[in-house]
């Protein structure tokens, strides 16, 4: 599932590049696509019996090194934190997914120091935690709810002024552009929804 989803991210390369170019340095498309490719390669090196924690650590390490940048280091820090918080389990259930999401979001927020509304990936991550918590028993519905909340958050970032990262340097001129990091997270969720396990 994850492998398919990551492969789908290829198609967001240009969108993410352009979003980052508008208010940053334009490397986000590469960061995400190359990062995803590196993760896929990393996953293939793992033994079939690998637990979730190891999988997360591998994702972190691979994503961080593919195209070093703010986003890649933050995502890696988030995944490492999730791997620690989760401990050794073999499968992810709904509770496990929530642990991962919360741990990662907390870690990214601690590390990056971004508050909600600072126009970063945090703006999309936080609402999906609530969506996941409040969702019904069907995983598919839960994912849909997360996507819905992330999509709304991304749209809202367009009216915010960047307070963190490279984009913060140009302050007001970031207004009108949605945040690239938040968009990348949305595209990941959408890609997961498009995999055979979810697509209806």
């Amino acid at each position: 599932m994850l492998e398919d989803a990551l492969a789908t991210l290829d198609s967001s390369r240009d969108e993410l590049r352009d979003l980052d170019a508008a208010i940053g340095d334009g490397d986000l498309g590469i960061t995400v696509v190359e990062g995803a490719r590196a993760v896929r390669e990393g996953l293939r090196t793992l033994p079939p019996e690998a637990g979730i924690s190891l999988i997360l650590r591998t994702c972190a390490q691979r994503f961080a090194s593919a195209n070093p940048s703010t986003m890649s280091a933050l995502v890696a820090a988030g995944l490492l934190a999730a791997s620690k918080r989760l401990g050794e389990v073999e499968n992810i259930d709904r509770a496990g997914a929530l642990v991962i999401l919360e741990a990662a979001t907390d870690a990214i927020q601690t590390r990056g120091g971004a508050a909600l509304g600072d126009k970063t990936v945090i703006d999309a991550l936080r609402p999906t935690i609530d969506a996941l918590q409040g969702a019904g028993p069907e995983n598919k519905d839960a994912l849909e709810a997360m996507i819905k909340s992330a999509r709304q958050a991304v749209t809202e970032t367009a009216s915010l002024q960047s307070q963190k990262g490279r984009a913060a340097w140009i302050g007001e001129r970031t207004m009108g552009h949605p945040d690239g990091g938040a968009t990348a997270y949305l595209r990941l969720l959408e890609a997961i929804a498009g995999t055979p396990s979810f697509a209806s």
Binding site: A64, S72, A73, A76, G112
Partner: protein, 331 residues
Amino acid sequence: MRKLINDPGNFVDEVLEGILLAHPEKLIALPHEPRAIVRADAPGGRVGIVTGGGSGHLPVFLGYVGVGLCSAAAVGNVFSSPSAEQVLAATKASDCGKGVLYLFGNYGGDVMNFALAGDLAEMDGILTETVLVHDDVLSAPREREESRRGVAGMVFAFKCAGAAAERGDSLSEVTRVARKAVKSMRTAGVGLSPTILPAAGKPTFELPEGYMEIGIGIHGEPGSHRGPLESADQVTERIVSAILDDLAPSSGSEVALLVNGLGATPLEELYLLYRHAHRMLVERGITITRRYIGEYATSLEMAGASITIMTLDEELTQLMDAPANSPFFRQ
């Protein structure tokens, strides 16, 4: 493009290759991580200092790897962060058991990657401390001092912390010295032209001919004032005033002063800036006791310059005067 380069995709690695061919007795690349450039005699018996960041700023960063300076640098692509893995490799090669100081400029990507490296180093039982250089006084107001960018003042931080490490100070002492240096310094700059990234082939920002941007960052980040180009004296007036307003050195202080060229500005012009800065400080009863004029932290071929002022006490003076030796910096 007016660049003497080969395939832009190989730019950084080829530059490194050239540097290592030229200075094999002083610098080495780690065999398993060629983007980690390390003092040939690392780790030695001293506290390590690892720096790093994007390429395109020579002599920053790896030019300050040497005796009395840093122990290693992690080398990112042009204007982008090195990876945590590269920083980690540099960290391991720099640690003799006494720990490692991360000393680099305040940029999001670098901060995140060094932090991640610190986490990984901790898992390996290596103690790390971090001091961010945030000397660019015009990049944020004093209330958000900690969010200022790190620019040419880095060189003074490397010099002081490096001297402390070299004389055998502990990690906490080296960290204290680095913090003190950062606290004692301010930088402000002016840009007269953008720079062109080898890979992108386009200017990093637009600045019409005959205009200047005061407070520009070394990647072309926007500054605090854009307007028609003024005279060298007027520009110096703006820059030095911005520094002095914030640093507020008392009359009678001694300072170290760095006039730094960003790449395309001739040394002649840097001395024009020095001339007026000197007169301004004399007028305020401040004595320049240590001076550096040249290209110390660049932005490829950007035209422009920056001035850094660091107030000196006896300790910092001594550290500034200690010997230092790298292929790019010697005293």
